[in-house]
Amino acid sequence: MAGGEKKGYEPWQDVNANPLVRIEGVSKTYGEICAVDDLSLDIYPGEFFSLLGSSGCGKTTLLRILAGFEQPTKGRIYIDDMDITTVPPYDRPVNMMFQSYALFPHMNVEANIGFGLRQEKLPRAEIRERVADALKLVKMEAFSRRKPDQLSGGQRQRVALARALVKRPKILLLDEPLGALDKKLREHTQFELVNIQEKLGITFIMVTHDQEEAMTMSTRMAVMNDGVIVQLGTPPYIYEYPATRFIAEFVGAANVLEGRVMGFFEDALSVYSEEYDCELLIHHPKPMDMGASVAVALRPEKVLITEKPVNVASAANTLSGIVAEIAYLGDISIYHIRTSGGKLIQVQLTNRNRMENPGPTWEQKVYLTWHSTSGVVLET
């Protein structure tokens, strides 16, 4: 995981750190539709920040407000403590890589990349040098004379990146940068983008609907829904501690078990789920009222599946059921287990063994167990 390499770098933890971008109470409404709703967010220098959400959640609107293409209805935007809310896009120290790449079809690669520098009226020699550097950075030196329609999708993406980076912006905005690429190329480009970002130290703000992409690349990410940020944090934190049911199901897969609080011991919560007929024991720092209804998220890969009952001290965090569906994905298999209550539960199994020793098969009775740190109590 590329984000993990920068473990020591966590300016958002530091109260004295000065954010590069400050978004303060920004709203954007179109008529009665509210695309962004009173959103506040700080982004620190050198971050690779992702805005993650499904289409229509307001992430692209927020990006366009940062670029200056949209004016917020309410709120202010600061970059380096300067209010840029009303600064037009051509005067902002921000550049954008468009989803469609938006390469100028009548200019060749070199002219496309040099466009922004020519607008700054830089001397020709410097433009030539910086364009050459940018071409080298994205490994496109050999294609400098080509027109955009003579390039492949991946090459276009590189040119678009170079064009936005050559201006040395404080912030690079990326709108679904890998959306138009096929899967293999996408995975490869993810790492390349992160490498470039680390090399240049420019702050990247990326919009994506692909949670894997956001998790692989970003230092922090914000999950958006209906114009607000539902959770903000590092990718591992958001994955392991989803705040709400929406995040648990949007970022990765999750079983959500509903139940009532039966008791609280030390730092663990005892929950009884009627629909699964199962007692759950979950690590939870805060006590909760007896009888309160809670939802517990359980990631499929955190559940152990066995063909024989496992000997454990208590009956908590165990379930039994029969295999209803198996999806073989090669590296892993996903099992849908029908529990005695009739409810399905999703379990993931790493295919460590070859075909000769396959795991449980259809209609087989299996036993499920998990650790008390595996479940997460969700906000309701």
């Binding site: 954008m96 938006a102 100028f104 276009r156």
Partner: protein, 271 residues
Amino acid sequence: MRRPWFLFTMLSFGYAFLYGPIISLVVYSFNKSRLVTVWGGFSTHWYRELLHDEQILSAAWLSLKIASLNACLAVILGLFAGFSLARFGRFRGRGFLSGMVGAPLVMPDVILGLSMLLLFVAMQQTFGWPQTRGMTTILLAHVTFSAAYVTVIVQSRLVDMDVSLEEAAMDLGARPWKVFLLITLPVIVPAISAGWLLAFTLSLDDLVIASFVSGPGGTTLPMVVYSSVRLGVSPVINALASLILLLVTSGIIITGLLLHRQEKLQKTSEL
């Protein structure tokens, strides 16, 4: 492809219907006989006669002058109107403008011609200008209705164009007018040239409007052709028609190539 024979027959019939008359026109322009429909052998006699017909030549010269001036003015006006309609969102008066641009496309010529003439008469009574009707009045009338066509072409190309191209230019530091000059204009150049050619031929072709707004001095080519056709069929007109066809066809081929290029550009900007 379903029932290809049926569609094929209808297509062939349609194209025969479209081109039969035109081909016969060209063929008989090389006819030696004065009788337009009897073949008397190959001859370029009528072309030579055409080149010595003072009336036709001066009318043609006037028509060409009006047509090219008209095309330039109509392109400028159409560019303004098309850009307003495609890029400025909903401004006050947008519906008004789009209505006034759409109406000339379907308005019968006689109404356009009559209304224009009455305007010029009223202007003359009030301001004393235009003193005589002729080239200027024809030009003004033609610019008005051909600009409507140019607007439609420019507007639709602008609507098809990926707006993020313009946004990208702005993002890279270009001010709005530079965005227009460096990005928008080059991308829609083929549409502009198509609009120019269309305005040119519309003006060259117009009989009715020009007849209304013209005065004693302004006899355009279609007026000469019309009065000559009313008197009967003449091989000189055939020769003239063939020359116009040649002119227009070459124009069309150039436009076609330009449009083709545009389509390629369009495709890249969409990807």
